[in-house]
């Protein structure tokens, strides 16, 4: 699972972030096993 947010919008990094379509992301994963 993952979720993305335009976390650099309005910051001084906004133009760099836009160039590379940069997003803040949260991911969830599970290690195999019990």
């Amino acid at each position: 699972m993952s979720n993305e947010v335009d976390v650099f919008s309005g910051s001084k990094h906004e133009s760099d972030a836009a160039e590379f379509e940069t997003r803040g992301v949260t991911v969830f994963a599970r290690k195999p096993g019990s």
């Binding site: 976390v7 160039e19 590379f20 379509e21 599970r30 290690k31 019990s34």
Partner: protein
């Protein structure tokens, strides 16, 4: 300098020094303003509940500089052991500590002394005794194998030139069946190798 696949050709020690300097400022002088958002406005943007943010010490909140929300997919469970990689000022560490409760444990690792001190101070302010603050690097965690029910991290992996090493360490410290709940940044367009190898762009 030639990089292995997935490893940027930057001097790791110099990069760590520059990043530590930047985040020393975030810890000590959060009012300076940075190229990235910080503090309560950032937490709101990332979906942290206002009541949770209000429960934390103001000094912890003002130095928050995450890029995601490790708790977005659900709270941690009472009694769980958590490893927070690059805990910074302790924002997520203290939330995790509240969720796992005193029967749980949070091992919080950061390379920047001022950030470690801020995390420890926040835990003291909240009367939390089940947080252990440790000096270390994401690529070489001072944590035994198969320790963690959950690994959290927030805005740290992007600052590490050897990301495969970070993921190996996450996998190593997780128990079988353990979870990774990590916030970071994602680029949808390829970053040129020349940019990856430019140390100035890493610590801006």
């Amino acid at each position: 300098m030639t990089a292995s696949p997935g490893v940027a050709a930057v001097d790791r020690e110099e990069l760590r020094a520059r990043i530590a300097s930047k985040y020393r400022d975030v810890a000590i002088n959060p009012e300076l303003g940075f190229h990235f958002h910080t503090g309560a406005p950032l937490a709101a943007m990332l979906g942290y509940p206002a009541a949770v943010v209000a429960s934390l010490p103001p000094g912890t909140v003002e130095s928050f500089a995450g890029t995601g929300n490790p708790f977005l997919f659900g709270d941690l469970l009472p009694g769980e052991t958590v490893v927070d990689i690059g805990c910074g000022a302790g924002f997520d560490t203290l939330i995790a500590a509240a969720q796992v409760g005193p029967s749980g444990r949070v091992l919080s690792v950061d390379m920047t002394p001022e950030m470690r001190e801020k995390t420890a101070a926040g835990a003291r302010d909240m009367g939390i005794a089940h947080v252990e603050v440790l000096a270390g690097f994401a690529e070489d965690l001072p944590v035994a194998a198969a320790t963690a029910d959950v690994v959290i991290s927030n805005g740290v992996i992007n600052l590490c030139p050897d990301k495969q090493a970070v993921f190996r360490e996450m996998y190593r410290v997780l128990k079988p069946g353990g979870r990774i709940q990590v916030g970071d940044i994602l680029v949808h367009r390829e970053v040129p190798q020349s940019a990856k190898d430019d140390i100035e762009l890493w610590s801006g």
